[in-house]
């Protein structure tokens, strides 16, 4: 069944998230990155950062929460077992560091049908505690086989 295109433009709840050392270290273990500015607070400070730097895709931790609001929106009619991740883009103003408290507000920006698939795009601007933009994330999820008649 096709997705509910009436929801294009819908803004979901803001999610707040603290960038904690343990989460960053757990993430680094999983991706196998031992770069000193990511791993070591002293190396990060020597390089001019306030604390350990979170790697560029760490923001996926908060996106799991922001996207799930969209994915689980009953009005959208998405069957998660049909969903694959199609596109991911990030535009960075600065790296996240341990101690940042950030907030993200996801918005469903488009639903497009291509052949039998539907492509839904979610954008989130991520701001820090001072209200400064840290990064913009855009994800496109593919709902396989729901675009056909």
């Amino acid at each position: 069944m096709p997705l509910n295109t009436q929801l294009i433009g819908k803004t979901y709840d803001e999610i707040e998230f603290a960038v904690e050392r343990d989460r960053v270290n757990q993430f680094l273990d999983a991706i196998g990155d031992d770069t000193p500015v990511f791993r070591d607070p002293e190396a990060a400070k020597a390089a001019g950062y306030a604390d350990q730097v979170a790697p560029p895709t760490f923001i996926t931790v908060i996106q799991t929460m922001t996207s799930s609001q969209v994915v689980l929106d009953k009005e959208l009619g998405l069957d998660y077992s049909r969903v694959v991740h199609g596109v991911q883009s990030y535009a960075y103003e600065r790296p996240l560091v341990v101690g940042d408290v950030i907030s993200a507000t996801p918005r469903l920006t488009s639903i497009e049908t291509r052949r039998s698939n539907e492509f839904l795009t979610i954008e989130s601007e991520v701001h820090d505690a001072n209200g400064e933009l840290v990064l913009t994330a855009r994800s496109t999820l593919i709902s396989r086989g729901t675009g056909g008649p």
Partner: protein, 142 residues
């Protein structure tokens, strides 16, 4: 901190050093826990088989993390990565060896930035697959 790669030392067509790694089941499980993405497609072989795969597949974001580690490792400063735009085009199975790379396509002498085509590829049964292709990144060079 600034980038460790000087703008004056690169040219269009240059490739960055390739980084490869073998994708292990325990790493993908660790990634599910670290990212919070607990989709059974990445953890449960019988679920993956039910939706048409021979076994579990890695998260797209797991593969993208390897690409961004390759980029920040090359440029030498995480703040130098200005943007990255990735398309996921093929799946990654356990014990696949993924190779991340990139090639400079455009240089801006005023901003001292470089645009790159970036990819992640693998060889499986004599066939080359691109889990990430048609993808780009922009970096600030020194």
């Amino acid at each position: 901190m600034t980038a460790q790669v000087d703008f004056d030392d690169v040219k269009v067509g240059d490739e960055i050093p390739v980084r490869s790694k073998v994708v292990k089941r325990e790493d993908v499980k660790a990634y599910a826990d670290a990212s919070g993405d607990q989709n059974p497609l990445h953890q449960d072989d019988s679920f993956a088989q039910m939706v048409g795969f021979p076994g579990i597949i890695a998260h797209g974001m797991f593969t993208m993390a390897h690409l961004t580690s390759t980029l920040t490792g090359w440029v030498g400063d995480p703040a130098a990565l200005k943007s990255v735009d990735v398309q996921f085009r093929a799946v990654v199975y356990m014990d696949d060896t993924i190779e991340a790379g990139g090639r400079i396509t455009e240089l801006d002498p005023d901003a001292r930035t470089a645009k790159l085509d970036v990819w992640v590829r693998l060889e499986r049964d004599g066939v080359t697959e691109y889990p990430i292709k048609n993808s780009t990144a922009e970096v600030q060079l020194a």
